[in-house]
């Protein structure tokens, strides 16, 4: 019995030493999380992401917002006429704007799983300036402008073709019916050409 009790003390001491050494070399229980890129669950409602290329500027998201924190900023092009801008300070992250967005299959305004929204030196001015804006707005606008130019070119070409066809018709008709009265349709054609140049 005595020998056993005598052995107990060193055994427990060694156990404690082992436990302490283990704890010394074990990884920390806490860690800095915001640069680790931790992902949240499937439907997590965090930071907004606005895709200006997909946006059609229908302002359904601004209407669906219960706290009116979405402003539609006019872009100057025809499509999209305006893009949403979310005032993050007032947003309650309910996700109803995402539900309301009609673009398919991908939504133009989405709530991502990024939840680190850290502001340093938080003042009221900084909070009011904290806004989620469309990320690729300039590219989208350039694209939209190019598209508009292309469309205008096509329109003008179509107009030209139409007028040329009309002129040809008029000429042919004039030549068939009254060869003496050729001047009138030609003058009309010239007038039309002039007006087109003005356009």
């Amino acid at each position: 019995m005595e020998a056993k009790e005598a052995l107990k003390i060193p055994i427990e001491a060694t156990k404690k030493v082992v436990r302490v050494t283990k704890a010394l070399f074990a990884p920390k229980a806490t860690e800095i999380w915001w640069d680790k890129g931790i992902r949240r669950e499937l439907h997590y409602r965090g930071k907004h992401i606005i895709n200006a290329e997909l946006c059609i500027g229908c302002s359904m998201c601004a209407r669906a917002c219960p706290v009116n924190c979405i402003d539609m900023v006019p872009t100057g092009v025809k499509k999209p006429r305006a893009v949403p801008k979310v005032r993050a300070n007032e947003c309650i992250f309910c996700g109803l704007c995402e539900d309301a967005c009609p673009t398919k299959p991908e939504k133009a305004i989405k709530l991502t799983d990024h939840y680190s929204m850290i502001l340093e030196d938080v003042t009221w001015d900084k909070l009011t300036e904290y806004i989620f804006e469309p990320e690729n707005l300039e590219e989208a606008l350039e694209k939209a402008k190019k598209m508009e130019e292309l469309l205008e070119k096509k329109k003008q070409e179509a107009l030209k073709k139409k007028q040329q066809a009309q002129q040809a018709k008029a000429k042919a008709e004039a030549g068939k019916e009254k060869p003496s009265a050729e001047k009138k349709p030609q003058q009309e054609g010239k007038l039309q050409k002039e007006t087109k140049g003005e356009e």
Partner: protein, 389 residues
């Protein structure tokens, strides 16, 4: 004025003779002392009780509310039919599913929209989850009022599992905004069901045995709460009590059983009642309802049908009105919704159970000891967000 009162956190003001010259006070007015139980009391919440005491005995109680008034009913009038849920759910953040379900059913009644069966079942699961979360806090705070804060911590551990499940489902833990007119917003994925089952497993296998062993049938707790704040059967009806407080007086009133909504008509559960009508009975009703709710969740998950979970809700709803009652965690919650044919509600009146319990409280608190005021207050199971709206 002993030091004991000052150390217990009571602020007291000697009553002026003008304010206490009410008829019912009579000759007592010279001896009376008014205590402000609240706003800064750890158990009161954002609310004040003016307590007039004669020695150690409470003579009169006058609740002073309005500290968390947010004008939710008025704000709903500026919303569309769908995004009004964010105001409705903020009536009380602890069990937000019940209020959203009630509002949605009222809106569907006016619009004549039928909800798919799957949405009904998901609503049931979420509502019962919300009820469990709310009851856990109710249990914890009831024992916490008496000075033991361990049960609150145990309850919060169990609550955390349910909040995890809600996060997987909707993306938020507390303000979920997940039930809308026309169904539910998200599909109940496998992961959500899995998380819900683990939460219920934890509740049934870990929390309930451990908590039941220590804090149910506890002799000290019984001495403190048995026979205090007794409300007989007839008086409970007369006062208009609601929820667990009403069922603790022996009246089997439960909207889930009486007028089934969502999927409650197809599920098998019993209404918990107690005959005693005192604080301990109210505590036990909350406890047994917790066990019952866990069973309902299991049944609903087993019976979850296939199909759609959301239908289209019209932007403009024809004129009409509807009154819908739902059994919320704290009692029967009524919604009177009126439409004038616009894109949003014309008027919404919410009938809150906590408010009914609050105005029954002065009657219950007559001639009790001052130390019993927090116990009765906690046993009536009220939510301040719900009282003020």
């Amino acid at each position: 004025m002993g030091n004991s009162i000052a150390t217990a956190g009571y602020t007291f003001v000697v009553e002026e003779s003008k304010e206490i010259s009410g008829e019912d006070l009579g000759l007592l007015q010279e001896k009376l002392l008014q205590l402000n139980w609240g706003v800064q009391h750890p158990a009161s919440g954002p609310m004040r009780l003016k307590v007039w005491v004669d020695g150690d005995e409470v003579v009169k109680v006058d609740p002073d509310i309005g500290y968390v008034l947010r004008l939710l009913e008025k704000l709903v009038e500026y919303r569309t039919w769908i995004n009004a849920i964010v105001n409705v759910e903020r009536a009380c953040f602890i069990d937000n599913f019940g209020t959203m379900t009630g509002y949605s059913i009222a809106a569907e009644k006016i619009a004549g929209v039928e909800v798919p069966k799957k949405a009904d079942y998901v609503r049931t699961i979420l509502c019962e989850g919300g009820r469990i979360v709310s009851h856990l806090i109710g249990l914890g705070s009831f024992v916490g009022v008496m000075g033991v804060h361990t049960p609150m911590q145990w309850a919060l551990i169990a609550r955390e599992k349910f909040l995890d499940a809600f996060e997987v489902y909707s993306g938020q833990r507390i303000a979920t905004a997940s039930i809308i007119p026309g169904g539910v917003r998200y599909e109940p994925t496998g992961k959500f069901i899995e998380k819900m089952i683990t939460a219920v497993d934890f509740l049934e296998k870990e929390f309930i045995p451990r908590y039941g062993e220590v804090f149910i049938d506890n002799p000290t707790l019984k001495v403190r709460s048995e026979g205090i704040g007794v409300v007989p059967k007839e008086k409970a009806v007369e006062l208009g009590l609601a929820g667990p407080a009403l069922r603790a007086s022996g009246i089997p009133s439960d909207i889930r059983k009486d007028y089934p909504y969502a999927a409650y008509g197809e599920l098998d559960f019993k209404v918990v009642t107690k005959e005693e009508g005192d604080c301990y009975a109210r505590y036990l009703v909350i406890w047994e309802e917790l066990i019952e709710s866990a069973k309902i969740i299991r049944q609903a998950i087993e019976g979850l049908p296939e199909g759609e979970w959301r239908t289209k809700f019209p932007i403009k709803v024809p004129p009409g009105e509807a009154y819908v009652n739902v059994e919320w965690a704290r009692g029967c919650f009524g919604f009177h919704l009126i439409s004038d044919g616009g894109t949003g509600p014309y008027r919404l009146k919410m009938r809150a159970p906590s408010f009914a319990n609050l105005w029954a409280m002065p009657e219950i608190m007559k001639n009790v000891k001052l130390a019993d005021v927090p116990v009765i207050f906690a046993s009536l199971y009220m939510c301040h967000g719900d009282i003020d709206r």
